[in-house]
């Protein structure tokens, strides 16, 4: 029974920040930077294990943003200009789709440190097909539905490759669904995700953030995944009559957008209240979003606090 894990990209350490600048100024080599990133991955993994988290990630430290491994590695798309990452003072390169997307099953694995994760129960995090399509510029001349289908095929190949590589849990991130989508988009998003998860043998989740999932929770709980994640800082869920029976709720109670360290009691109360309100089969404590919007030192403290809260939640069961 899971109690806590991470949901996105971890910040880079001050050492890696300095080295990446030094590489640009030709005062350090790419090899030195890669070695420092690998050290950070080992630290992030050790941190999660010390905190007792249930699924382990490598911190996605080689991911420049959620979509970049795909826009870098999938034929038919490339990274475009800088665009604001929702309502944050951070940015991503929006993918530009120029033709039919060709699944490879290699894009995510190229930036995951399998060696460091060997022997651990590890999770992978991908964009949902709807998020990939919605956050890309369609310059292909193909219809929006064709692009969404392509995105689903790409992500299905990625998910299958991750499963074959030993991944125990795949989470699909979708901030677009709760911020930019209309209700009419939900069936399309549902169908696209179904094409990805159909027949997958690992546990799956759809995690939403930066927007209030409450108004669409009734639809979200029917998406073809085992777990549904919500950002408790973006809405209260008070207005929803939806039931999450049969699902595990990922309660985004740890704020990845503020440095203030939460109290254990508050985290547990939030998770339990959300679970009870929605009648979820189970609940796991997670950050509401990637922790990369924090400096490393704050993210590290938050992970430790998440572990303490998970222990309290476990004891309360």
């Amino acid at each position: 029974m899971p109690f806590a894990h991470l949901v996105g990209i971890f910040p880079r350490s001050e050492q890696v920040v300095e080295l990446s600048r030094a590489v640009e100024r030709r005062r350090a080599t790419a090899h030195e930077l890669a070695a420092a990133v690998a050290e950070d991955e080992a630290r992030v993994i050790a941190l999660q294990r010390e905190a007792g988290l249930d699924y382990i990630v490598d911190g996605q430290l080689r991911w420049q943003d959620l979509l970049r491994p795909l826009s870098d590695g999938i034929p038919g798309m490339h990274p475009g200009g800088i665009a604001r990452w929702f309502d944050n003072n951070s940015f991503y390169r929006h993918p530009v789709i120029t033709g039919p997307l060709q699944p490879t099953g290699k894009a995510a694995l190229a930036v995951i440190n399998l060696k460091a994760l060997a022997g651990l129960r590890w999770k992978a995090i991908l964009p949902s097909p709807f998020a990939l399509a919605a956050l890309s510029e369609n310059a292909s001349g193909r219809s929006a539905d064709q692009v969404l289908n392509d995105a689903a095929a790409v992500l299905r190949a990625e998910a299958q490759a991750l499963t074959a590589a030993g991944c125990a849990y795949i989470q699909f991130n979708d901030p677009a669904l709760v911020t930019r989508a209309g209700r009419a988009d939900l069936p399309r998003a549902h169908a696209a995700l179904a094409k990805v998860t159909d027949g997958l043998t690992v546990r799956t989740a759809l995690h939403t953030f930066f927007g209030d999932a409450g108004p669409i929770l009734g639809e979200l709980v029917r998406f073809p995944v085992d777990e549904i994640g919500v950002d408790l800082y973006a809405g209260t869920l008070n207005g929803t009559a939806a039931s999450a029976a049969g699902k595990t709720l990922l309660a985004g109670a740890l704020d990845g957008r503020n440095s203030l360290i939460e109290e254990v009691r508050d985290l547990v109360d939030l998770a339990v209240a959300a679970r009870d309100r929605l009648g979820a089969a189970d609940v796991a404590l997670v950050p509401n979003c990637d922790l990369e919007l924090l400096p490393w030192e704050c993210a590290e403290l938050k992970v430790r606090r998440l572990g303490e809260a998970a222990a309290a939640l476990r004891a309360a069961k």
Binding site: V17, N89, S259, L260, E263, L293
Partner: protein
Amino acid sequence: MKVFPTQEIGSLAKPAWLVKATRGQGPSEVDLAEIDRWAERLGIDGTSELKAVLNTEHPDKERVRDWAALFAIRLQEVAGLDAVYDGEARRIEMYEYPVRRIAGFHFYGHVRSFDNRYYRKAAVVDRVRLTEPFHLDELKYVKSVARRPVKIPITGPYTLADWSFNEYYLKSIDGGFRDLKARAYAAKRAFTLDLATEVLRPTLHALAAAGADWIQIDEPAATTHPEEVPILVEAFNEAVEGVRAKLSIHICYSDYRRLYPEMLKMRVDHLALEFKNTGDFDIVKLFKEQGDTRELGLGVLDVHSDVIETPEEIRDKILGAAAVLGAEKIWANPDCGLRTRTWDVAFAKLQNLVEGARLAREALQAPIRAGGPTH
């Protein structure tokens, strides 16, 4: 005053010799040649003193900054702008510089902006308090050397709050932990209003007392959270309470529709906005529809492109906006500060800005000379 005056918005790129001097490094031969090239182009004399300062073991950084400010001012004046400043030559950038002068903040490590770009983001850990009004020395220097009217830019309270972590005010809000969104809103409002009243207001008063006739308050975060526009407006009005100067607000890379109707309550004289980047000049109709009769600074230069906009293109954009809002309301400017462009590109863009405005005035006069406008 003539119609279609021109202005810069804020920062220019920092010359290599300035950056090196602030790091304690001496100038290269290329840097010294650049000083000569720009001094000749801008009609600046006496640069042997600058070179002497740069070549000392421990350069007088303030003196170097004076020189950098002088070059930036002259660049804008020679380009022909009607309102100038110093290209923010003394400021690290628009967030960290003021925050370092406000008690109550603590800087943690870096946060990623994108790719391998990072910035330092502070957390407010105590009630904010102004340690000393800032920008006074730079204003004094600019006014002592500028030959054109001066407009001073300053970062606004909402953007300072939005770009910071909020610890102190979140802890101070008594409202339980259940409605996190409502609690965060209340904490953001308290933080922003404290910045407005305890930091910005005394600073703006000090600047006005020091002779600032026109103050531009920069709020690039204005529409990041549309539901917080009331906080933006309330804080702006609190900050400028009693300030006797022309006041403008600069907003960029935003959806201006999200500002209205709340924006009509803002006590501001001039809106300096970005238009060229989005290419959506039709949005000027929004101001007409909303009954917003304040001056509009029309962004007609893309600050993220080296393409030099033509005077004719700029003229047409100005005339298009004037046809909607009235010629007397329109200023012309870059979308934002030109700090990401080289001085050669920035200078060429600003020269064309001035020429485009002149062509627009000429076009406006033409029907009058021919016997008055026809409809």
